[in-house]
């Protein structure tokens, strides 16, 4: 709950906006749980846990649809204006990004199934190091970006955009490392292709977190800066761009 969802004369409007806001937080919790469980399934070589992750993605999908329905109702019933309008439009985009994050977490779970189901030879552990590392990093981004939304915290939103740049570099480094493994032993090619897909999924989760940070900037300032550089954003908002 924040100043965006409170203070209306019509208390039903507060309740509806609050409910929508809570749906975002609930989706954030589910996405983080899915990501955590997917990464853990890979670490534990637990195929059953990976299957559970894939199944539970439906919960996130259901919340996405529930939020969209609530948004349609709010627009039709309340004709939102100004910050209410921005909050509602922003939530519409955030839930969409969260839903896609859920889909990407499924990719990691699929990796567990591909590697550890059946009799085929599992990958060497060193190939999986980057997945675990990037997974933890991306999790902090998901947390930070929704906290920025919840608290209308500009600085945190900017931090997430910074983190996405770091994530991109990390992704490229990981690809370079995997190439060296491939050069060492070409028989790793199958496993490496799968690992790249999982790393790409994590990188996409970070990308969605960055999108959300952009939506939060719009929510707070009323200016769409999704496609602006960090320097342009910092100059526009009059803040320092240091991490």
């Amino acid at each position: 709950m924040n100043e965006m969802t409170e203070g209306h004369i019509v208390s039903g409007y507060n309740d509806e906006l609050n409910h929508l806001h809570q749906t975002v937080l609930q989706m954030r919790d589910l996405v983080r749980l899915q990501l955590k469980n997917a990464l853990k399934s890979l670490q534990d070589e637990d195929v059953a846990a990976a299957r559970a992750v894939i199944k539970h993605d439906q919960k996130i999908n259901a919340l996405d649809i529930q939020a969209d329905d609530a948004i349609i109702q709010l627009i039709a019933k309340r004709q939102p204006m100004a910050k209410d309008l921005r909050e509602i439009l922003t939530v519409g985009k955030i839930v969409s990004d969260l839903e896609r994050m859920g889909d990407q977490a499924r990719w990691v779970a699929r990796l567990t199934i591909r590697f550890y189901e059946g009799e085929s030879l599992p990958p060497q552990q060193q190939l999986l190091t980057d997945i675990s590392k990037m997974g933890s990093y991306v999790d902090t981004m998901v947390d930070a970006t929704i906290t920025a939304f919840d608290q209308l915290n500009l600085q945190r939103a900017i931090e997430v955009i910074h983190k996405d740049q770091a994530l991109e570099s990390e992704f490229k480094s990981a690809l370079r490392r995997l190439s060296t493994y491939l050069l060492e032993d070409a028989r790793n090619v199958g496993h490496i292709a799968d690992v790249v897909l999982a790393l790409r999924a994590l990188e996409r989760i970070g990308g969605h977190a960055k999108n959300i940070a952009g939506h939060v900037l719009f929510l707070i300032h009323g200016k769409d800066m999704r496609h602006a550089s960090l320097e342009m954003i910092s100059a526009e908002l009059g803040i320092t761009s240091d991490r």
């Binding site: 004369i9 100004a82 921005r86």
Partner: protein, 275 residues
Amino acid sequence: MMLEATTSIENTGFAGTVGDITANNPRMTTRNVNVHYGDKQAIIDVSLDIGRNEVIALIGPSGCGKSTFLRCLNRMNDTIDICHVSGEIKLDEQDIYDKKLDVVPLRAQVGMVFQKPNPFPKSIYDNIAYGPRIHGLTTNKTELDQVVEVSLRRAGLWNEVKDRLLQPGTGLSGGQQQRLCIARAIAVSPEVILMDEPCSALDPIATAKIEELIDELRENFTIVIVTHSMQQAARVSQRTAYFHLGHLIEVGKTEDIFTKPQHKLTEDYITGRFG
């Protein structure tokens, strides 16, 4: 919903109007307008330009002074004895509060449409013909017929009434009566049309027709509309001015006022947050 303006200006740090009060090549200019009803001050130091061929919406809670300000623009407040207006209000560089100025032609130049349709108890034809006749705008019956037809066409009413021009205007539906009043206002070729909540007594269909009409009329006239419906202000106007306790708090492009207002009072009002 009617909102009472109970939030104190002082608590919100009011320090002059937010936004650009000027318009390029304005039709009307108002500067430092103050209005008193006896001891009570209803308008406090308001300055605002009314642009040519624009629709400007005046919004704000009940008692904020928006209707009082509107009525200053064609000296309708003169009819109230205890009302005193000071400051400068010009129409095309002419000071409309000049003591030598005749208010009758002024009110033809700056026409008005009220909240409740108020056709004369006369025929539809005579409702429109009345103004051109008293102002001597036509010389013969053919010309007068033409003014009546053009005015009714511009008001989007011609096809509905052309076969019953001699029937009483009061026999029309509420929405038709309001369009008749708009036709009556435009029959004397005004420069500015003031509308004081013109749709508040109308159903949604009649309201939509008036809003469509306002959009068409903008080609030839300047329109100042007071409305309690924020959605209506957002739909019909290019600029919006927000009044609160007699102050002009904020003015700006309508698209900005309704998506990212600068002043907290504007934000609170348009999002329904006044307690």
